[in-house]
């Protein structure tokens, strides 16, 4: 029987599940698309993990992160529910001791995390606009008819990058089309796009912040060697990409869950059986006051598990009371 920790990162674009043992070895990882159906994605991820693991395991702790962390926590019974910044910071520290800067670009969010003495000292996340760098690159790759896996490699072939306006994805796209029509070749345009995205990242998130090495680059976009190289050129330093860069949030959760278990807490994990349960989410608009809160109701096999979304706490406490009666 091996002790394990489960980490789940439910983002808007991808859902990742990682199983880690006591020695921080990754026993299984799943990277799957959320496709707007987080519950399906969680169940799919758990199922894949379960089929991949052959030995006997005992889950000692579960952590969730990402924008769907509350939902995931409710479904699997998590012990630790953490925001993405902390989860990513912890994971990066585990791979590169003494890391000072983390650049993270996911599907919708981009963040920069600064650390000092192995503690997060500052961070920034895109504020007004949901940058969506990952999704944007996906879209551009398909528009140029290049597989996303080859997109970054093509940038490396560029000898004469073009300058692309990168303030906003909308401008970048129209400028890109314009440059294509001027006759620039694809490599140069892709390189230009990588440069533009990096410039935009550093201007919007890194402003006023001192970027010191070692620098770690993680998130789904870190697979793109073109962006990595543009970062290195812009910062004049080496940028490290950890081997499991795409599931760092989930790894951070495993580490947090391990820490939690080490303090003697028993896990709330509901077991892998939940992959066979049927889940329903119902949204109701509470009409009791002018707030008209959208209350979300999670139903597992016909039984209400949780409600949230109400501002006054009326619906929330309704479920809690029922639990006490039972």
């Amino acid at each position: 029987m091996k002790n394990c920790y489960l980490g789940i990162d439910v983002g808007s674009v991808s859902t990742n599940v990682v199983l880690m043992d006591d020695n921080n070895n990754i026993m299984g990882k799943v990277y799957t698309k959320t496709q707007g159906k987080p519950i399906d994605a969680i169940q799919r991820g758990m199922k894949e993990i379960k089929t991949a693991i052959k030995e006997e395991i005992k889950v000692k702790g579960v952590g969730t992160t990402g924008s769907g962390r509350q939902l995931a926590a409710m479904i699997v019974g998590a012990d630790v529910v953490k925001n993405e910044i902390t989860a990513h910071g912890i994971a990066a520290l585990n791979f590169v001791d003494g890391v000072r800067t983390i650049l993270e670009i996911g599907g919708q969010d981009s963040k920069i995390i600064l650390l000092k003495n192995n503690v997060i000292s500052d961070f920034a996340m895109n504020t007004v606009c949901a940058a969506g760098t990952g999704s944007f690159l996906d879209r551009q790759a398909s528009r140029l008819d290049i597989a996303i896996q080859d997109f970054g490699k093509m940038a490396l072939l560029s000898k004469n990058p073009v300058r692309i306006a990168g303030r906003c994805a909308v401008f970048a796209e129209s400028d890109m089309i314009h440059k294509q029509q001027l006759g620039h070749n694809q490599e140069d345009i892709i390189k230009g796009l990588c440069d533009a995205l990096v410039r935009n990242f550093l201007n919007n998130l890194g402003k006023g912040k001192e970027i010191v090495g070692p620098i770690v680059f993680q998130g789904g976009v870190a697979a793109n060697v073109g962006i990595k190289q543009s970062f290195e050129e812009a910062l004049g330093q080496e940028v490290l990409v950890p081997p499991h860069h795409d599931v760092m949030g989930a790894i951070g959760c495993c580490l947090l869950a391990r820490e939690h278990a080490a303090k003697g807490h028993l896990t709330e994990f509901k077991g892998f059986d939940i992959i066979n349960s049927g889940y329903n989410v119902k949204g109701i608009e509470c009409q009791d006051c002018a707030n008209l809160c959208e209350v979300i109701e999670i139903v597992q096999d016909g039984q209400i598990m949780a409600r949230w979304g109400d501002k006054c706490g009326k619906w929330n406490s309704l479920v809690k009371k029922k639990e006490k009666l039972a």
Binding site: D122, G208, K209, N291, C312
Partner: protein, 363 residues
Amino acid sequence: MKVTFPHMGNQYVGTKVLLEEVGLDVIVPVDCSKETLNIGTKYSPESICLPLKINIGNFVESINEGANTIVMIGSCGPCRFGYYSILQNEILKEMGHEDVEIILLDAPQGNFKGLLDSIYKLTKTKNPYKIINALVKATRVLYQIDDLEDLMYYKRPRQKNIGEADLYYDELHKKIRGVRGYREVSRLIKETKEKILRIEEDPGREVLRVGLIGEIYTILEPSVNVYIEKKLGEMGVEIEKSLRLSHWITEHLFLNPLNITMDSKIRKEAKPYLKTMIGGHARETIGYGIHYAKRGFDGLIQVYPFTCMPEIVAQSIMPQVEKEYDIPYLCLIVDEMTGEAGFNTRLEAFVDLLGKRKEMKVS
């Protein structure tokens, strides 16, 4: 005549008392909700700042309940607020509410007669005793409610059963709508205060202190800042706000025209970074930021509506303050597109960071 006015946090308590004490029929707009914002967004210019959109929503919802007169405050700062009443008048006219009258109470820039005329028009009385009496009572009630809010900031992170204080607080707001005049409102506030004071505290709780700075509307109106004070409170953070209603009223309507302001100390703090008045509360944002840093706060959070010019200037200066005073700083920008999940993530991460920093300092 049925009078209404726009919401701004707890301001409605004071305004309600003021108008009721001069004997008017008051319609308090329903609490700001998603619907309020929807109405506002539909009828306002797209790139105008958020408060105007909420105001329009408030007006429309009150007009639907029978209001026919709107009281609005003006401002003489070079920020868009000074232009609100004119724009709002045009918008309402265009919507077909031509019969609705807007009475503007503008800060008298040396012209006290203009203000007095507006007041006479509103109150239908020239009896100065009655007006001053109502004003005094309204100001008093504002100080009482601000006082209660301070208690909430203190209790939220310390209460044993999280959410208990807000139970009484929300109840108070429901009750205030049902009563009339200073005496009743004041009694309700006092009762609630006693209840909240009696709430049991958890002595073992680690409490962080954060200064909330930024644009006045967004830091005062909870429906706009996605209930940031409640969220922070429940995460174990005691807050202090740079701008407060009672303070703002005395400052802007009474002291500013006489050139004696209480904020001169704050402005002095901001002076090395921003020498002059650029409108809005940019100087206060920076000044209070420094003020809180000097008082040993754990962090600063700035909140402002998207496209707010003075706050953008302050935001670009704040990283320098952050560095020089070694205090973590987070900036949150709100508008009708604000997603709550992203907002929560940033707040949580920031509070985590502050907690770890404090641990490091202590150990």
